[in-house]
């Protein structure tokens, strides 16, 4: 398939449409706005619908309705808009609806929001963090597939760099295994049948009074445990004889990976580990990659969030240091001065030498 020079937002919209997404709703916010623009421009020609919602609350509500009919649907925003959507995200998990969400965020400060969530109750969903456009095209398609496989929302977490950087990219279709039938979707066909469907987040069963919350929530817990066991994805490089292991995710990992490759080429014993799924966090793979290293250095563009998951994965066996930090442009879009190959290299170099890095 031929490659085209495209902005991330356009490539993600095209990948979603190639994966069968036929409904999108959103509300403008930088750097997410262009994703909405591309869906608005491209969906009608594919027989799809893009609604300019009046707020993020409505955007996720509309996408909820669309996905309930069995259509592939998505919504998204920037972290702020995702904050507004939290009630719906947690309840979509309980309604077991395969909605795909995009957070094209301002930097990496939404790691907790993405992986812990601000919604209520026990709930979990996959979080995919692409490193570049080629991977974003694949993970966007994977998001729709995994969402339907588990009947659970999936979040794709990118940032300004991913959304606004143009690269030559091909929308290569990814082949997936067949999915279970969508007999849960409501289309009105079971109305008047005596056994209708009721897609609800509280465990209600048609024709039956009351709910059984404990049984319902425990069933979801078991599903989320199965997801956690099956869905961890990561990329590990040069870990075999490494003394220092650098851990980073998303666009930032593109810088750290570059620095690690350069230093490796110069003979430094440094490895790189990148979680592709932030939930489930690839804890076992990280523990394996970190075996034998003297130090693990976490470079994330925030005050220190993913470092918690790194520490949990390593259970105190290895020293874990933070070498990233808050770094932003003046508009607050998260394109900070730290994101310079030279500066990233200097931070990794300091960690190699055992020096402390000031955030």
């Amino acid at each position: 398939m031929s490659r085209r020079f495209m902005q991330g937002s356009e490539a993600i919209a095209e990948a979603a449409i190639a994966a069968g997404c036929r409904f999108f709703a959103g509300y403008p916010m930088t750097p997410f706005t262009e994703l909405l623009e591309h869906f608005a421009a491209k969906l009608p020609a594919e027989g799809g619908v893009c609604v300019n919602a009046e707020s993020e609350l409505e955007a996720i509500g509309m996408a909820w309705g669309a996905v309930a009919t069995g259509a592939r649907a998505a919504t998204g925003s920037t972290g702020q808009g995702l904050s507004l959507m939290q009630e719906s995200i947690s309840e979509l998990v309980r309604a077991e609806l395969p909605l795909v969400l995009f957070n094209l965020a301002r930097g990496q400060g939404d790691y907790y929001q993405a992986t812990r969530g601000g919604g209520h109750g026990d709930y979990r969903h996959l979080v995919l963090a692409p490193v570049d456009l080629t991977e974003a095209v694949q993970l966007t398609q994977l998001a729709f597939d995994r969402a339907e496989c588990w009947r659970n929302p999936v979040l794709v977490y990118g940032d300004y760099l991913l959304a606004h950087t143009a690269e030559a990219v091909a929308i290569e279709p990814v082949a997936f295994d067949p999915l279970p039938s969508k007999d849960w979707a409501v289309d009105g066909s079971r109305s008047g049948s005596g056994s209708p469907r009721n897609l609800n987040p509280i465990g209600m069963v048609p024709g039956k009074k009351g709910i059984e919350p404990e049984r319902f929530w425990k069933r979801l817990q078991a599903k989320h445990e199965a997801m956690a066991a099956a869905e961890a994805r990561w990329e590990a490089e040069s870990t075999d004889d490494a003394e220092l292991l650098v851990v980073a995710f998303g666009s930032v990992a593109r810088f750290t990976r570059f620095a690690v490759r350069e230093l490796r080429a110069e003979g430094a014993r440094v490895g790189h580990f990148r979680p592709v799924t932030l939930w489930p966090f690839p804890s076992e793979a990280l523990a394996e990659a970190a075996r034998g290293v003297k130090r693990v250095a976490v470079l994330e563009q925030n005050a220190g969030q993913m470092i918690d998951d790194v520490r949990l994965a390593l259970e105190g066996r290895v020293k874990v240091v933070a070498i990233g930090g808050i770094s932003s442009d003046d508009a607050g879009f998260g394109v900070g001065p730290m994101l310079e190959p030279e500066r990233i290299r200097a931070r990794v170099g300091a960690a190699l030498a055992g020096r402390e890095v000031q955030p």
Binding site: R22, F23, A25, V49, V51, A53, E54, S55, L57, E58, I60, G61, M62, A63, W64, G65, A66, V67, A68, T69, A71, A73, E87, S88, E91, A95, V186, D187, G188, S189, R190, S191, G192, S193, G194, P196, R197, N198, L199, N200, P201, I202, M204, V205, P206, G207, K208, K209, G210
Partner: protein, 281 residues
């Protein structure tokens, strides 16, 4: 029979005797958990019977809000999507856009629609979204135990307006149908009441007109139904219908507010027998 037996302002002294059983075809049973004297099961009946009579049973999807009526979903022989509190119009919007030939209705209370979800029902109407929103207005959050909503009338006592709703403290009620009718995308708007048999019949006429408006693809329709909530009003069950008609009905005036895109502002829907001739009942 003594006068005592015929008094209707309080429940009978002895337990009531079941003399027969009736349910709409689209209702799965007759047993529900709502209070005695609640108006919501009556309102549900107008919806279910209208769908059945219009022959739309296999093409209908309900989107349900959160309030006492949520418990009625176990009785509904309809494909349903359960929404969060206030969010039913958005869900119905997305679903209808994917399945434009189905009949979609939302079932919401005054707390759900006029408080938590006011912005989205206004936008759904303004967009001319081809759905029918049904508002069960009892002037309280019934489900939480009788608290003030945006439609609570002045002077009405609730658990958080103990001395009665006072405009200086709690502001003025919102009349939902009056608010939505003038919007360009609204094709049909009416307010009925289930306080007596004639009210139920008129409400059903409104429900059918709203559904027909939607099936003709003319745009947004709203049917508000005033319903009894004796529990949330702290009045005896038998006084519910009278209270509804005199206290809430005085502020939330029944009638058709918009039909065929024309503003009517509270016109009586045509008499049931006239409607019958046209095959509406």
């Amino acid at each position: 029979m003594s006068d005592e037996v015929l008094r209707s302002d309080r429940p009978p002294e002895s337990g009531a005797t079941r003399t027969g059983e009736f349910k709409p075809t689209l209702q799965l049973g007759t047993d529900h958990d709502l209070c005695a004297g609640c108006g919501e099961p009556l309102a549900l009946r107008t919806i279910l019977e209208s769908i059945e009579e219009l022959g739309l049973a296999q093409r209908t999807i309900g989107v349900i809000g959160i309030g006492c009526y949520t418990a009625l979903t176990s009785l509904m022989d309809l494909d349903l999507i359960q929404a969060l509190h206030g969010r039913a119009p958005s869900l119905a919007t997305g679903a209808k856009r994917m399945l434009p030939d189905r009949l979609f209705f939302t079932l919401q209370g005054d707390g759900d629609m006029a408080n938590e979800g006011l912005q989205e029902v206004i936008h759904a109407a303004a967009r001319g979204e081809n759905i029918t929103c049904v508002l069960l207005n009892n002037g309280v959050f019934g489900e939480t135990g009788g608290h003030m909503t945006a439609t609570t009338v002045l002077g009405q006592r609730t658990k958080n307006t103990l001395e009665g709703r006072d405009a200086t403290q709690h502001g003025y009620p919102i009349q939902m149908v009056d608010l939505l009718a003038p919007l360009g995308g609204t094709a049909y708007a009416a307010r009925g009441s289930v306080h007596d048999a004639s009210g139920v019949v008129k409400t059903k006429v409104m429900m059918r007109r709203a559904f027909e408006t939607q099936m003709r693809g003319e745009g947004f329709s709203i049917v508000e139904i005033l319903t009894m909530c004796p529990t949330g009003w702290f009045v005896p069950t038998a006084k519910g219908p009278g209270y509804l008609n005199e206290v809430l009905g005085a502020v939330h005036v029944t009638g058709e507010w918009k039909r065929d895109g024309r503003l009517l502002r509270g016109a009586e829907p045509e008499a049931p027998n006239e409607a019958k001739e046209r095959g509406a009942v």
